[in-house]
């Protein structure tokens, strides 16, 4: 991994409002060309962080460095802000035409009329709203309005694009269409971007790095696969979509793996946990395989448990199956498999998962 100097660096950022510490981040880095997503529950501080980094939220403690240079009071703040662009959850359009809106940032910078025209048309084309250029912003649908807001930001060719839950207020089909377009545009323009979202799938799809936030802090940041498959604590685990989180105690060790006792059952996992140590085991539902009991198939999965289906929740293209096999377990099953196994609530099944699919969070001895 080539270390390029960070495009943005923040040190010892603290935001205090009304006695509450809204943001407490000792160090934050962003590299050029990356797309970083901030995920976390409401009130985690995602919006606060975005607004602080764009110098919109003041005052705050701490320092910001853009390409190594410190951003300070007065003139350099405006200069810095003009290198960024921000898109909010609401389109926040001006009472003028779509063209006028997309051009607004450029007009603020005093760009020439001809150049404005070219840039705006380019963006309208890119976002598929060229045919709307003459329309009043008041007559746009939610999706069209948000596309206009995005076009307005991209027209500025910002060095960093910040997005605060830009797709949250859109209905699913509109959101899906826009995610796809946004993905292409971000890749094609190689824009450095940071966005806050609730949607883990959105984060997985669009970002090159994920940061999980809670209570004003960044709990974990890293490549999506890293964070998703190796959450460092239960909170991160539950937030990134690990459905099965089990607590157990290590009772056996063999080489690089161990066995933990979880509610009376033995679960094998890979890791360094010591005998007697309490561990939290995270198993992603996509890593759990279901088959008809008793399982005759030879599989490399060491963890095979007979159980009973307690609930089936349809999720469109697949189904979420809750089952009990001595401890609660959640599996994802395709519709096809559901039919093949004729799974219904109450049915007996055999669940299995590999020892390597178990993410271990060590809790130490009790």
């Amino acid at each position: 991994m080539i270390e390029s100097p960070p495009i943005l660096e923040a040190k010892d950022i603290q935001v205090i409002r009304g006695g509450t510490l809204l943001l407490d981040i000792s160090s934050f880095l962003m590299h050029e060309g990356e797309i970083l997503s901030l995920i976390g529950p409401n009130g985690a501080g995602k919006t606060t962080l975005l607004q602080t980094l764009s110098y919109l939220l003041r005052p705050f403690h701490g320092e910001l460095f853009f390409r190594g240079k410190k951003v300070e009071r007065n003139h350099s703040i405006l200069e810095y802000r003009r290198k960024l662009a921000m898109v909010f959850q609401e389109p926040l359009l001006f009472d003028t035409t779509v063209f006028g809106n997309v051009a607004s940032g450029l007009r603020i910078r005093g760009m020439k009329k001809d150049e404005i025209h070219n840039r705006v048309m380019e963006q309208l084309e890119r976002f598929g709203i060229r045919h709307l250029h003459d329309r009043s912003a008041r007559t746009l649908s939610g999706g069209e309005a948000q596309r206009t807001s995005l076009a307005r930001a991209f027209a500025l060719q910002p060095e960093i694009l910040l997005l605060d839950e830009p797709l949250s207020s859109l209905d699913p089909p509109t959101r899906d269409a826009l995610i796809e377009d946004l993905e292409h545009i971000l890749q094609r323009t190689k824009t450095t971007a940071m966005f806050a979202t609730h949607d883990r799938l959105e984060a997985l799809r669009l970002s090159s790095r994920i940061a999980v936030m809670n209570e004003g802090r960044i709990l974990q940041a890293g490549f999506p696969e890293e964070v998703m498959n190796h959450p460092m604590d239960e909170f991160v685990a539950s937030f990134v979509g690990v459905e099965t989180i089990l607590s157990g105690k290590v009772i056996k060790r063999n080489g690089g793996s161990f066995v933990a006792s979880v509610q009376g059952k033995e679960v094998e996992a890979v890791g360094d946990a010591r005998l007697g140590e309490v561990v939290v085991l995270c198993i992603r539902p996509e890593n759990v395989t279901l088959s008809a009991p008793p399982s005759q198939e030879k599989t490399s999965a060491r963890n095979v448990f007979p159980g009973r289906v307690s609930k089936i929740i349809p999720l469109g293209l697949y189904q979420k199956v809750h089952l009990h096999c001595g401890f609660p377990l959640v599996a994802y099953v395709t519709n096809h498999s559901l039919d093949e196994l004729s799974l219904t609530e109450g049915k007996e099944v055999s669940a299995s998962f590999k020892a390597t699919a178990v993410n271990v969070i060590r809790k130490g001895e009790t």
């Binding site: 405006l78 802000r81 662009a85 609401e90 926040l92 009472d95 607004s104 500025l156």
Partner: protein
């Protein structure tokens, strides 16, 4: 009944033939109230925007003062302006009592809080995040204010219309500080009072028709604004 019909008939005649006295009174009304509204526009909008956008202790008190000012009784304004401009008063040396200038001053004092109050409300009603979005687009403080004013242009227009409407139909302060001097400080409202007391209903009615037309015109604009401002 004849009185009324006769009055209306003569009034139309005065209007259609552009009777010079009626015209003079009308033009003076427009001049005085127009100037007063223009001045109140500058003071009212600038202070209204400033208060709306800033945060300071005592803001609530200032806002209620402005709102109270909107309901200031014109005769009270007339009284205080008269005192100030009285020969022995603090500004008496200007010698402008009983002049159109004094009327402009009084009407400005009446109109300014109206424009200020509505401007304040209009700016505060803009979405909170809009300010952040404008700043995020790289606007300077001045550009921010200008863009917000443009965004609120419809309610601001309503504020100006409300201000103008308030002073064009005002009579108390105008008589007190203007003196209703023929050909000099006589406006639509003050003239109507006088002509009515003299029983010259034809002139009074013609002036009233003009006032009604002006009121209608103002309301027409206000209604257009109201219909065009739909929530986004």
């Amino acid at each position: 009944m004849d009185l009324i019909l006769e009055g209306i008939r003569k009034a139309f005649w005065l209007l259609i033939t552009f009777d010079p006295e009626v015209m003079e009174i009308t033009l003076l009304s427009l001049w005085v109230s127009g100037t007063a509204t223009l001045i109140s526009l500058f003071i009212g909008i600038s202070i209204g925007v400033a208060v709306a956008l800033s945060r300071f202790t005592g803001k609530k008190i200032v806002v209620s003062l402005i709102n109270t000012g909107m309901a200031l009784p014109p005769v009270v304004v007339g009284l205080f302006v008269t005192i100030f401009l009285w020969r022995n008063g603090p500004l008496g040396f200007f010698g402008i009592l009983y002049t159109p200038t004094a009327m402009i001053i009084a009407q400005t004092v009446i109109a300014t809080p109206i424009v200020m109050g509505i401007t304040l409300a209009a700016i505060q009603q803009l979405p909170q995040k809009l300010r952040l979005q404008i700043l995020a687009l790289g606007a300077t403080r001045i550009q921010l204010v200008w863009i917000l004013i443009k965004e609120a242009k419809l309610p601001l227009l309503a504020a100006i219309m409300a201000g103008f409407g308030g002073v064009i139909s005002e009579v108390g302060a105008s008589i007190m500080v203007g003196g209703n001097i023929k050909g000099y400080s006589r406006v639509l409202t003050t003239a109507t009072v006088m002509e009515t007391s003299r029983g010259n209903f034809d002139i009074a009615i013609s002036l009233s028709i003009i006032l009604l037309l002006l009121a209608y015109f103002i309301n027409l604009i206000l209604t257009q604004i109201q219909q065009r401002t739909r929530p986004r």
